[in-house]
């Protein structure tokens, strides 16, 4: 039956580097060499930070850890575009962007070791605490984006994070819709690593991409090769320009791959094939960027080694700080619940304080 077209949407995907680090030169962001190198360094730093956490966990010195390995390009490509005044509403796998944005390494470690004090991020960093219920923090990013707008901010934006799994939660939808209605200063940054624990993306949704969802809310959305830091950088830059200019939210979907177990409590060999992991190992975001930089003579083994040593020292420092921090007093359990403790917490506090440590 003939019909009248009332809406059309095209969802595009950006790729710049190929699997071997060769760039589509026309698309390479016009950045000075040191900025390109910075993208690589951001990735190396987060990878080292992540590896250390896994080691600590194996040694019983860390709690459950969700590795970001494989997603460094997503987080670095975004981080390089962030400004000091921007707000982050992270989920639980955003260690990379968090430490790039000024959260201290030992703080992220502390959170996952099981210490709420890890959330006391440096005062000048507008990073919200880690949010575990997936998808829920997108609404916070919308509210913050609305608040920034109400305050008349011209630069600052809020970035809300979610994974492919999280995109199935109702809050994902409510966030995109609210964001659109209120033209929130919010970037929806979706890392589609193709797995939600054991559930592959194709069982998460019948849609081909998450980017196309945006169009259902009248919002722009784009997919990007999430293992290509140049593509993430370029797409995110464009998206952030849009949001910063007050045109409302933008959705960036980074198609990437979770290289590790979901968390250290998981065993991914139960549900995915070694070949699949191997396929993606060949598309490692760090390797690709290293080759690209090397081809441009911006980077070499020696510089990498030197930088890794620097980072290792930083990481070890963070671990030392983490492990030398005395445990919080048990009364902390009740002391942050309200601005002023109600009588029942006063009583319970007394009980806690009066007890021998169990």
């Amino acid at each position: 039956m003939p019909l009248k077209v009332v809406h059309q949407a095209v969802t595009e995907r950006l790729e710049i580097l190929d699997k071997d680090g060769r760039a589509d030169e026309a698309l390479v962001p016009a950045l000075p060499g040191e900025e390109l190198v910075r993208l690589h360094k951001l990735m190396l730093r987060m990878r080292r930070f992540d590896e250390k956490a896994l080691t600590l966990q194996r040694q019983g010195r860390m709690g459950t850890w969700g590795s970001l390995r494989g997603q460094e390009a997503c987080q670095a490509g975004l981080a390089a575009n962030l400004r000091r005044e921007d707000w982050l509403a992270p989920s639980f796998r955003e260690h990379g962007v968090m430490i790039s944005a000024g959260v201290s390494m030992h703080q992220v470690y502390a959170i996952w070791r099981g210490d709420e004090r890890g959330h006391l991020f440096p005062a000048e960093v507008h990073c919200l605490p880690v949010s575990v219920p997936v998808g829920s923090q997108l609404l916070h990013a919308v509210g913050v984006g609305m608040g920034l707008g109400l305050r008349g901010e011209k630069s600052a934006v809020a970035v809300g994070f979610a994974g492919d799994g999280a995109s199935s939660e109702g809050d994902f939808h409510e966030a995109l819709n609210f964001g659109g209605v209120f033209k929130a200063r919010t970037l929806f940054f979706i890392q589609n690593n193709q797995w939600a624990i054991s559930v592959p993306f194709r069982k998460q949704t019948a849609a081909a991409t998450i980017a196309q969802r945006a169009h259902g809310y009248g919002l722009p959305g784009v997919q990007v090769d999430g293992n290509d830091v140049l593509a993430v950088y370029a797409a995110t830059r464009k998206a952030l320009d849009h949001v910063r200019a007050g045109h409302g939210p933008y959705l960036v979907e980074c198609l990437t791959y979770r290289m590790e177990n979901h968390t250290t409590a998981d065993d991914h060999t139960r549900y995915r094939k070694a070949e699949e992991v191997a396929y993606w190992r060949e598309r490692d975001p760090v390797d690709r960027m290293r080759r690209f930089l090397a081809a441009r003579k911006l980077w070499d083994e020696a510089r990498e080694a030197a930088y890794l040593e620097e980072v290792a020292a930083e990481v070890e420092g963070a671990v030392a700080l983490l492990e030398s921090t005395p445990k919080a007093p048990p009364t902390d359990i009740v002391d942050y619940m309200y601005a002023r403790r109600p009588w029942f917490l006063e009583e319970q506090r007394a009980e806690i304080a009066g007890r021998v440590a169990p």
Partner: protein
């Protein structure tokens, strides 16, 4: 039935319904503090389905009075984000029966944010919701869910029973640096008027009020049930029983001193609420009383509550709601124990 304010009320008063009193409190706080926002379904142009936000859009504009999409999780979740950037959102849930979709945001975030962030981020949010039976609406418009909020650490739960208190308590709720769930009885929204002072006064959160003194038995109620308790008191008075009526006003934190003080005097108590009995506020009150005043108790604490059943459709709702007769009967049971 008024009185009990913390600050000295202004001289001029207005005769207001409870709905209007909340409206005045909202308007005055919005005038006083530019960070206060109102948001929810139909709160702007329509002035709210109960007209509690009437006139606010005209007075404060669409940047401070936000008609939102129909999505309760969105309202509270976005409200939380606004709070983090320094605003003080008053979120309206159109009826308490529709708060469920927002519970993830309320329980997992709003109630926990101060604690999670070790005090860095406060959430000075008020979540207002009409609650309770008595107006014969369709399903889900008559629910009383206060116990869910009381069971969730990090929240305060306020339920006024008079226009005077409603204004003074909404003011306190807005000024509170922590999230406050504010339940407004639909049944008494417009059931009566009372002189309410113009201008600034606050009724403190966490303080109950002795509505009527008595020595024989304490009737503990809140919200719409306070009026039922007063009616029961009058009926008991005709039989020479002097009941004390305590209006809790805040159900979390409970005013344990006021409760114990009264029960130590009377030795008998009846707790009354519309919400179901199982693990309700009445259970907490009874548990506290036996815990801290067992030796004063001349009889078991009686509970007069909504039945442990779905709130019925209108034709049977009068049979569900606690009324004078049930309260009197419970008081007699306590007296005859």
């Amino acid at each position: 039935m008024s009185g009990g304010a913390s600050a000295a009320p202004a001289a001029r008063t207005e005769k207001l319904t409870l709905a209007q009193a909340v409206n005045r409190g909202l308007a005055e706080e919005m005038r006083r503090d530019p960070r206060v926002l109102v948001m929810g379904e139909d709160v702007g142009v329509d002035g709210g389905v109960f007209r509690v936000t009437e006139g606010l859009l005209e007075a404060f504009g669409p940047e401070r009075v936000l008609d939102t999409p129909l999505a309760e999780s969105g309202i509270v979740g976005a409200g939380l984000g606004l709070a983090l950037t320094g605003y003080r959102p008053v979120c309206e849930i159109q009826f308490s029966g529709f708060v469920y979709p927002a519970l993830n945001q309320i329980f997992a975030h709003v109630a926990r944010y101060r604690n999670r962030s070790r005090g860095r981020y406060a959430v000075p949010m008020v979540i207002r919701m009409p609650y309770g039976g008595g107006i014969h609406p369709p399903e889900h418009h008559s629910e009383s869910y206060e116990a869910l909020f009381c069971n969730t650490p990090g929240l305060k739960v306020v339920i006024p029973s008079t226009p005077y208190d409603a204004k003074g308590l909404i003011v306190s709720a807005i000024r509170d640096d922590d999230p406050v769930v504010f339940c407004e009885s639909e049944r008494i929204y417009r059931a009566f008027r009372e002189e309410v002072p113009e201008g600034d006064y606050a009724v403190p959160i966490g303080k109950a009020k002795v509505v009527a003194e008595g020595e024989d038995v304490t009737l503990i109620a809140y919200g719409s049930m306070t009026r039922q308790a007063v009616e029961a008191r009058d009926a008991l008075a005709r039989e020479s029983v002097a009941a004390e009526v305590l209006d809790l006003r805040t159900v979390c934190p409970l005013d344990v001193e006021a409760i114990l003080g009264s029960v130590e005097k009377t030795g008998r108590a009846v707790v009354i609420h519309e919400a179901p009995r199982n693990t309700g506020v009445g259970a907490e009150v009874a548990a506290l009383i036996q815990e801290r005043a067992l030796l004063s108790l001349q009889a078991p604490v009686q509970r007069v509550c909504g039945y442990d059943a779905v709130f019925p459709f209108p034709l049977l709702e009068n049979h569900y709601l606690p009324d004078r007769e049930r309260i009197v009967r419970a008081a007699r049971a306590a007296l005859d124990f």
